[in-house]
């Protein structure tokens, strides 16, 4: 591991010097430092900033502190009651040990697990801009089918972020230039020709909290994840869904897909196709197809298209 200087953050707005990065739970960052993929000169530890509480928002909804551990959030009675999709997504991710360290903001800002990104000896446009992308012709079975670019086909690996995208959650950000908010659906970028930038955050900006607005029908919501083994593996495809179904008709719905793109993929087209439609398997599959029409699978990941279609139908049937 490259040497670095360590210090403790004292203020959410203090920002970062060039070459510095924030340390939260460390479950991804420390690993990337060991691999030589992350090489910060300075680590600024944000664990003592007091961002570890879940609070109620006025008028309903929750404010989740950036430092709340994934295990505590998954077990929070308000999350389990009002947003089961969020608790389920968290519990579908990682292991008990990792969830005890990983934080809300760290989970959002974790890096792709694309093998070429994780291997410092390989070309990768995300890690070393302009060096190329071996994934397009190489190992891309678990990479993107939506929103990718010639320079990058990486996927965002988070489960939690998929649920937050479906729930219209909003990220609260603090930095030297002040405070701002960004919807979770707009936090992560599509790769384009600058895949080295995962998110819209500027250097030194710090996520302080995630607000989840009140959404009555989210009490009927679910997360379903498909992976290569029964537990403790990243998704090859996942769906977060909340549905309001009245007299057999879908009156409102939230859908997001995981492991298909450079960001948690909010399925706005599928939602639009589903509102006002009968709550049947045919409608669910047609709605999924409305979203997946834009899919551009690679040689070895075309299976994700029917996988997501079937997942959408299965999850929504479970909520109907």
């Amino acid at each position: 591991m490259k040497t670095f200087t360590y210090r403790t953050a004292t203020d959410v707005a203090q920002g970062l010097e060039p070459g510095a990065t924030f340390l939260a739970g460390g479950t991804n960052l420390v690993d990337l430092m060991k691999l030589g993929v992350a090489t910060p000169d300075v680590l600024v530890d944000v664990n003592r900033l007091g961002l570890g509480e879940v609070g109620d928002l006025p008028g309903g909804g929750l404010r989740i502190g950036a430092g709340v551990r994934n295990s505590d959030l998954a077990a929070d009675p308000r999350v389990r009651r009002d947003y089961p999709v969020l608790s389920e997504a968290l519990l579908a991710g990682a292991s008990g040990q990792l969830r005890n360290m990983a934080t809300t903001a760290g989970n959002l800002l974790q890096r792709t697990r694309c093998r070429y990104f994780m291997d410092a000896t390989m070309p990768c446009n995300k890690r070393r801009p302009g060096s190329g992308c071996p994934a397009r012709e190489g190992d891309h079975r678990n990479l993107a089918i939506l929103g990718a670019s010639p320079s990058c086909v990486a996927t965002h690996p988070s489960d939690m972020a998929v649920a937050l995208a479906a729930l219209d959650a909003v990220v609260r950000i603090s930095g030297p230039a002040g405070e701002r908010t960004v919807p979770v659906t707009e936090l992560h970028r599509l790769p384009g020709d600058t895949p080295d930038r995962d998110t819209v955050l500027e250097h030194g900006e710090l996520i302080t909290a995630v607000d989840v607005p009140s959404l009555g029908f989210a009490a009927r919501s679910a997360y379903r994840k498909v992976r290569d083994r029964a537990s403790y593996a990243f998704a090859v495809g996942s769906v977060a869904a909340a549905a309001q179904i009245t007299d057999g008709t879908v009156t409102d719905v939230r859908l997001a897909f995981g492991a298909v793109a450079h960001k948690p993929w909010r399925a706005f087209a599928a939602e639009e196709a589903l509102r006002g439609r009968p709550a049947t398997r045919e409608s669910f599959r047609a709605a999924a197809d409305a979203e997946l029409a834009a899919a551009e699978p690679l040689r070895d990941n075309a299976f994700k298209v029917p996988l997501i279609r079937n997942l959408v139908a299965s999850v929504l049937e479970g909520l109907a």
Binding site: Y6, L23, G96, Q97, A230, Y232
Partner: protein, 154 residues
């Protein structure tokens, strides 16, 4: 920096790169916690940090000023005797991590924390899911499950 390990206070002067695992093994001589993958994938390094199970290989010791750590050397729990009775290991390399993880997991169950399985009781499926962060390359899982189940009082 200061760290309390198995109830004993230590004052340490560490390179910032030193993980909690390397601190325990190389600086404090506590070699019970094992280095398997060193990437948070196998669970052999599991210890209890302020009572919660964590992968000590992914934690920089310097970030844990004042924390209290319990390693296998400091564990005294019924699950240990149950592992012996049920032959819940073969080579033993993963066992300290399995035991520490089981102790932390049973505490999570007692607090009412859910798992991805969602059973009301601590079924075998629940034990498998909750222990999925600990790998055993000998495949001794079938004997660990009754050991953990009985340690939970079921």
């Amino acid at each position: 920096m200061d760290l309390v390990v198995n109830g004993v206070e230590h004052s340490l002067d560490l390179d910032p790169r030193t993980t909690l695992l390397d601190t325990l093994r190389e600086h404090l001589g506590l070699t019970g916690s094992k280095k398997g993958c060193d990437h948070g994938q196998c669970g052999a390094c599991t210890v209890l940090l302020d009572g919660r199970r964590v992968n000590s290989c992914l934690i920089l010791a310097i970030s844990q000023q004042g924390a209290s750590v319990t390693t296998i050397e400091g564990v005294d729990h019924p699950v240990q005797q149950k592992f012996v009775e049920h032959d819940g290991f073969q080579c033993g390399y993963c066992t300290p991590g399995q035991i520490c993880s089981a102790v932390g997991m049973l505490d999570e169950v007692a607090k009412g924390w859910p798992s991805a399985i969602g059973d009301e009781e601590l079924t075998d499926a629940e034990i498998r899911e909750r222990m999925s962060g600990n790998l055993c390359r000998c495949g001794a899982y079938p004997n660990m499950i009754p050991a953990i189940r009985e340690a939970a009082g079921r």
